[in-house]
């Protein structure tokens, strides 16, 4: 899922924002997105498996949920004029056709202020039955 979203965002014109191919952490596990503003970072996928339909012969129908987090940090006082449209474009990654086989797509956007930095965090969740 991360690869598909990264390809989709990299092909978009998101000026003045850029898309980083790297993970959002440095060698000390400090967030790179707080150092490099206006750069979009995608974290690695988290996968969770849970029982969707329990059956008594032990071979339950499982649901696999893949979570991808996207980070965008900007100056909170001087927000770029393209900020809102960029957030919409990132959010639209939820519905890209290159991600297939999923029966549920969710996106949650959280905004937090850290000093003078506005951190916009996107949490994409894709669920499928396995």
């Amino acid at each position: 899922m991360r690869a598909e979203i990264l390809t989709y965002l990299s092909n978009l014109k998101l000026t003045p924002f850029a898309v980083s191919q790297e993970l959002p952490w440095d060698s000390q596990t400090q967030p790179l997105y707080l150092k490099n503003l206006k750069k979009i970072y995608l974290d690695s996928e988290n996968i969770e498996e849970s029982v969707a339909v329990p059956v008594m012969n032990g071979v339950n129908i499982q649901q696999e949920t893949t979570t991808v987090r996207v980070y965008l940090a900007t100056d909170a006082k001087n927000l770029p004029s393209q900020y809102d449209s960029t957030v919409d474009k990132i959010r639209a990654s939820k519905d890209i056709s290159t991600i297939t086989g999923v029966n549920r797509r969710d996106c949650q956007i959280t905004r937090t202020l850290q000093n003078d930095i506005l951190l916009t965090e996107f949490e994409f969740q894709f669920s499928k039955l396995i």
Binding site: V53, V55, M56, N57, N60
Partner: protein, 151 residues
Amino acid sequence: MTTSYVAVAPGTNNPEMVLSVYGVAGNLTVPSLQNVTINNANDVFTWSQLNESAKLQVATTSTNSISTNLVVEEATFFGSNASATASSPAGEQGLLGLSVHKVKCNVSLNMGSKTVSCVGYVTGLAPTVSADSPVWVTPVTVTVSGEYTFA
């Protein structure tokens, strides 16, 4: 006093229903059961007597059935032979074929270390799927003709 609960766990005592066409060799094992109910409902004859303050009752003939819900598995539901007839083995007919052909079946169901057996007919199929539950599930009812036997 010792107790022996019939606990169901994956791979241990998990109920499976086995059907075969009456008088025809060949079983259809139905896995992926979500729940099972064995119904044994006696009819009751009730009467009053002048020397009794309460009505008297006696059990008469019973109406028996086995109800279950299961996840639809293609081979089990549709059978292995699209051209199966009413005299084909149960595995070839599948649950749908046994219901459509209205075939009398031998049915057995394990309940812990015991096996419940009966003769009946498959009915009550209603496969369902929804956006919230994107796996086909169906109820299945076996209307039992006669009594259960236990072994």
